[in-house]
Amino acid sequence: MFKNRFRHKKLTRELCANRHRFYKLAYSWTGDPMLADDLVQEALQKALHSFDSLKDDSKLNAWTCRILMNCHRDWLRRRKDTVDFDDYEFSAEGDPLAQASADDTSAMVRRCIARLSDKHRDVITLVDLMEFSYEEVSQALDIPIGTVMSRLCRARRQLKQLIAAASQEPAAPVTPLRSVN
């Protein structure tokens, strides 16, 4: 019993230490701080209640990422049929705020990452934001390492093109898209 309790404490500490990385990851998928926050909260709570189903403690982060992804997919499924008026993306042409943010490189890169397909965005954010090894990405996404490598390669190629194009055009804010089927 005590052994289990120590294990839970250790895993909890580790999760908390990585909380901000999970938040960054969720933010990169959603572009919305409140939603990212809620998803991380939900995922960490689920993880905390499911430590017994984690077979290998060294895979904690990859395992938690899968939970986070599922939380995000569930959220997308729930809202699939409704589009809030406030969420609707109007053209930002001529919008001074959008133009000011277009000057910000970080915001521009985030917009480009949001335009990637969900598969590409997943792999690039897991490698660059979560600093996962290819093996950990493979575990988190449940795909072979070879697929991780080829997907990452295509993702970076596409991101490079998007950034090159974005630096020459006035940009509008974009919400990341993810297929939920």
Binding site: H8, T12, C16, A17, N18, R19, H20, Y23, K24, Y27, S28, P33, A36, D37, V40, Q41, L44, Q45, L48, H49, T105, S106, A107, V109, R110, I113, I124, T125, V127, D128, L129, S133, Y134, M149, S150, L152, C153, R156, R157, L159, K160, I163
Partner: protein, 240 residues
């Protein structure tokens, strides 16, 4: 896993693995060897590193999470709830300001940093050129400034970050600067020196330079990222 010798064209997959440090040391050495001879290949690596750095940096200034203030409840049941109630009651009695909160390691390390944050003067000195005289002048000015703050009893923190050609000045090959850095570091523990690892690797690839650093200089992954971070934290920026 990969053998570049079998394939004269280095694939993008392999270069990505190199940039992401996913290769074995032998594979890495082989790529490094090729990079010395192949400028186009070196440019491809630079582009990938740049892209990776931009992606990492893009999420550094996102709105902060509210999560540290929101406790995450693990499985516990009644015993834990009773214990929590007891602790809460005790806390009220003792006049505690709040309950322990969940937070990241960064939050925890921020606690000792809180005293550091009370230091109102934080100065970042950016060394990016190999001009020896200019660097010596900068170190001289720093010494004067540190002495003045010490005399007035005012806390100050100074960090010197070198990238670009600036890293060439932080090795034993420029003894007049190395001695000055060693003396200043011994005298002032609120002064630190850091050099950009990306630059050092690039200089090795493009100019074949093997930069050695004196022990007082620590290595950081990216000088540019550190400079931007410090500026966002409100550090005063001085170009050395």
């Amino acid at each position: 896993m990969h053998d570049p010798k079998d394939n004269p064209e280095v694939s993008d997959e392999l270069l990505n693995s190199f940039v992401d440090r996913q290769l074995t040391s032998e594979e890495r050495q082989e790529i490094l060897h090729r990079l010395k001879r192949d400028r186009a290949l070196s440019e491809r690596v630079c582009e990938l590193q740049h892209l990776k750095e931009m992606t990492r940096l893009a999420y550094d200034d996102i709105p902060p999470s509210r999560l540290p203030r929101r406790p995450i409840e693990g499985p516990g049941g009644w015993p834990r709830m009773i214990a929590a109630a007891l602790i809460f009651g005790l806390g009220l009695l003792l006049g505690m300001s709040g309950l322990p909160q969940w937070g990241s390691a960064e939050d925890r390390t921020a606690a000792p940093g809180a005293s550091r944050d009370r230091i109102s003067t934080k100065v970042l000195v950016h060394l990016s050129s190999a001009d020896r005289q200019s660097a010596l002048n900068t170190l001289g000015s720093l010494e004067q400034m540190l002495a003045e703050y010490r005399q007035r009893g005012e806390p100050v923190r100074v960090e010197v970050i070198a990238n670009g050609d600036g890293v060439k000045l932080l090795g034993p090959d420029t003894p007049e600067i190395a001695e000055r850095i060693a003396a200043l570091s011994a005298e002032y523990d609120n002064l630190s020196f850091a050099a950009c690892r990306n630059t050092i690797e690039q200089l090795q690839l493009t100019e074949g330079l093997h930069i050695r650093l004196i022990p007082q200089v620590r290595l950081i992954d990216s000088g540019v990222v550190e400079v931007i971070r410090r500026q966002k934290e409100g550090w005063a920026y001085i170009r050395g």
